[in-house]
Assembly symmetry: C2
Homo-oligomer: 240 residues x 2
């Protein structure tokens, strides 16, 4: 009920109220580009949170550690994100934005070889550049997706349904072996995200302190070769 609570997070989606009030909100919203301070602090918090949630999971993460990492006092964190859960949700939303769209590369008019190779490269690239994002997501799903169940069952499911159609098309064209499209996507996800989520294991086995660009290049080559040989119908050897 305090000032902060009602004023917080001026969002376009909040209750429409009287015209003047709406106008005023909009003005402020545009005026300072949505609050430069807010923008910057939310950013810092989100980034710190991603790191800490990735390292410790939802329950293991403490708002104190996140705040410290963001170089803000804990009370300040709770000014921008009422609860730990709200902050976590925000981090997840960020992550989904990344994940969501690489699938768009799959369209009927393309060659599966290219689409798949690009997809593998793109996902693997995220695993290298944003391993923490991947880990937060993995952790969420691993523990039953308490925050993402709806997303998985709706958005993601539909998306995969769609793209499965494309794969079936390629199969019908004789370009891909007859495989189950959904399981095919599972396999793509599994091999690409492995390098982010299980990096400790990968590093231990490879004997590396951290994965180098070279390691990722090798991974990309191996995955691409395996997947492409695995799912494509080999170009017909010209009849003798």
């Amino acid at each position: 009920m305090s000032r902060q609570r009602t004023a917080q997070k001026p969002s376009i989606t909040r209750n429409k109220s009287s015209g003047t009030q709406r106008l005023e909100a909009l003005r402020k919203f545009n005026a300072n580009t949505r609050g430069a301070i807010r923008e910057s602090n939310e950013m810092r918090l989100l980034q710190a949170a991603e790191t800490v949630f990735a390292a410790r999971g939802f329950s293991g993460a403490t708002t104190a550690e996140i705040a410290t990492r963001a170089k803000l006092p804990k009370a300040n964190l709770h000014y921008y994100f009422r609860t730990k859960a709200e902050l976590y949700r925000a981090v997840l939303a960020n992550v989904l934005e990344l994940w969501l769209d690489e699938l768009d590369r799959f369209t009927s008019d393309r060659e599966p070889t290219e689409a798949i190779a690009e997809y593998v490269a793109a996902k693997l690239n995220w695993s290298r550049k944003r391993p923490n994002a991947s880990k937060v997501f993995a952790n969420e799903v691993l523990h039953g997706a308490p925050f993402l169940k709806a997303y998985l069952s709706n958005d993601l499911r539909r998306r995969v349904e769609d793209k499965s159609e494309v794969v079936r098309h390629w199969i019908a064209q004789g370009k891909m072996r007859p495989l189950d499209p959904k399981h095919f996507f599972f396999q793509l996800w599994a091999v690409t995200q492995h390098y982010a989520d299980f990096d400790v294991q990968v590093r231990a086995v490879l004997g590396r302190g951290r994965l180098t660009d070279q390691d990722f290049a090798t991974a990309a080559e191996n995955i691409t070769a395996l997947i492409l040989h695995g799912c494509l119908v080999p170009a017909r050897t010209r009849p003798a």
Copy 2:
């Protein structure tokens, strides 16, 4: 210093002391087959712990919930396992026992086709029968393997090193495509464990309440086909 603490966990590895004491310990150790009660209660606790750790992670799990699930009072849990960490370690040890050995199927004298197909089937089978074991392990690695780092860098690493040699042998024989053996193992692990660790996602996409035997059969077929086509050198088509 209390009675319980010193008497707890009569293990063969504890300090050798006076001859009579040693004898007495041994007698009891054999007498009631290592304490039927202890055996049974530790079992119940380990099983409950596996479930709870899988669902909530190390930090999220509470000894209270584990105890409740095992139908024992919390104090009793702490009688058998001094700390949550000790219980967790015990669960992990259990899990590793499962994981450890499927790799033994890889020996130079076998055909890669068979070894790989069997390995995939075996791992996938564990994902179906002991998903919680897989999840506990995944969670541990995901969060930096604070308890397993040593195991990964030593036992596992050596094991993979060994088995890589076998794969190289197969490659030299012209039975497998020239691929990086270690990355090949990563890919095997990734696709097979995915069905345990990310089952919520898999279920959401497939629209299932739970994964059926049929789902696992389909998964097995798809994975095996993908991997085998992906890594084997196709039988030479008889020269025309």
